[in-house]
Symmetry: C2
Subunit: 300 residues, 2 copies
């Protein structure tokens, strides 16, 4: 992989950025800056997790998967996450974190590894003091550019009104200052048909649809897809649930490299039972390709 030049904006002297940092002129995009861990040694990566990707104090699960996913790509011979699963163990907070990876197999066309993201226990002293594991990840990587062009799909993109007819964070009833940090990083345009919950009238169909872009104009790539699948409000809101719906597990399949432009994301829940629900997401790019599929198990 190519590396950013030392001293480029957004990198730190004496550290190694986690893979190429796409830049437009001298601009470094927020997502690249905030997901780039510094490889201390093979299999050990340090990062200062940004508060910019949270809802309150808790960081978004898709953002964390992108952080770990990029660190894994550094330690594997293949660049793209084909299938990654994260189990969320404890709530991750902004601040220092370490990603430790463990390669399972380095194959010709696919490589597999697991990883853990750890944070220091507050008050514990020393560089290798007590740590708490926040999430554990298992992934298989390949090269999306090496795949054939054959497509035989029964899937169709979600029916979404044009972005200008959808709701955005600036429509927040309490004003733009009331939106969570995560919503400032994303340009999310929610389908009015799945936004009734915001005014107390959920459709009860368990659906959520939106246009998703990074707010600073960064084009989507496979790691941004790991964020996009977890970027919409929970489908539970459309089923009349309120409050936090913590993710237990999230699996993402990246099926193609996304074309530039806004993504269309559709999420559905078929089964809410026993206090758990699944959320199935599909992500489509501007070329009408199904670029990612995901499923998560969340607690109601």
């Amino acid at each position: 992989m190519s590396e950013s030049p030392a001293g480029a904006p957004g990198t730190r002297a004496g550290t190694e950025p986690a893979g190429p940092v796409p830049a437009l002129g001298r601009e470094v995009f927020e997502f690249d800056r905030d997901t780039a861990a510094r490889r201390r040694a093979p299999g050990v990566h340090d990062i200062d997790l940004s508060p910019g990707w949270g809802m309150g104090r808790t960081l978004n699960g898709g953002y964390l998967l992108a952080v770990v996913g990029r660190a894994l790509a550094r330690d594997l011979a293949h660049p793209d996450p084909f299938t990654v699963t994260a189990h969320y163990l404890t709530a991750t907070v902004p601040g220092p974190a370490v990603v430790r990876t463990d390669t399972a197999r380095a194959g010709r066309s696919l490589s597999s590894a697991s990883a853990g993201l750890f944070q220091p226990v507050p008050g514990a002293a020393g560089e290798r003091g007590a740590e708490t594991e926040r999430l554990r990840v298992l992934g298989t990587y390949g090269d999306l550019d090496a795949l054939g062009d054959d497509v035989r799909t029964a899937a169709e993109p979600p029916a979404l009104p044009p972005p200008e007819e959808c709701f955005s964070a600036t429509d927040h009833p309490a004003g733009p200052d009331a939106v969570p940090e995560l919503s400032r990083r994303l340009d999310l345009r929610l389908d009015p048909a799945t936004s009734g919950w915001a005014v107390g009238a959920p459709s009860l169909r368990g659906e959520m649809r939106a246009w998703v872009s990074l707010a600073d104009g960064r084009a989507p790539d496979p790691f941004a897809l790991l964020l996009a699948v977890d970027a919409l409000p929970p489908t539970g809101f459309d089923l009349g649930l309120t409050g936090w719906l913590p993710t237990v597990e999230l699996t993402v399949h990246v099926r193609a490299r996304p074309a530039p432009g806004p993504l269309r994301v559709g999420v559905t829940t078929r089964n809410l039972a026993g206090g758990f629900l699944e959320e199935d997401a599909e992500v489509w790019d501007t070329a009408d390709r199904l670029v990612a599929q995901s499923r998560q198990l969340a607690r109601a």
Copy 2:
């Protein structure tokens, strides 16, 4: 967990069976016998993998997930797999194998751990000689009996004709002796509407539906669900593909403890692209409950 009495049928003197072995009178069911690893030490489990769960020399991915899943249950404080993901690294063959587990978090209501299944490299000497990792697993466990009874689901069971109107292995054109070993362990009744591929007329819808029971009458439990999601012929056959479609990754959510009786399993593929396809399975029990959901990524 309760243990089978020492010397009970199907257990071996001086070893520890992997959890309770349901038995009808003195009978030990094939699935329990063949998924029971012996715990050598906490986190280390030995098993002699049976050739009875293969298609040719390669063992079924669902069977292997059940083996690892039961070993994980021994090392965790919670009995039931809520969500488990396996990445298949190399083809597993019948014979000795070791499962090594690594607990990530032991919580009040959920526990998480990863595990690897290893086989000795042929010709390598010694008990701890060279090993090859066959699959790596990440799982979160809980107690299905502790879940509430609330169900708000949009999902409906697959429309299947009664079992006596479906195709079974005994209908194999080359006679019952031609069926693979795995098919002898299962009583699989394939919906004629998704069986056209067997006579050269796939529906091209990417669907597969069947009744699934264990052939010796063992009732389904959460570990049998890990097998059931991977027990049908590949949906790729219904898309006109032939040959082996190796699983890269399989994730199963167990949503409820299944009632006794045959399971209904429906599998669909929405997207075959770039040489990969996903297979989504839903498993329904005789009480019309959605007891498991799964998705796998396979190579075409």
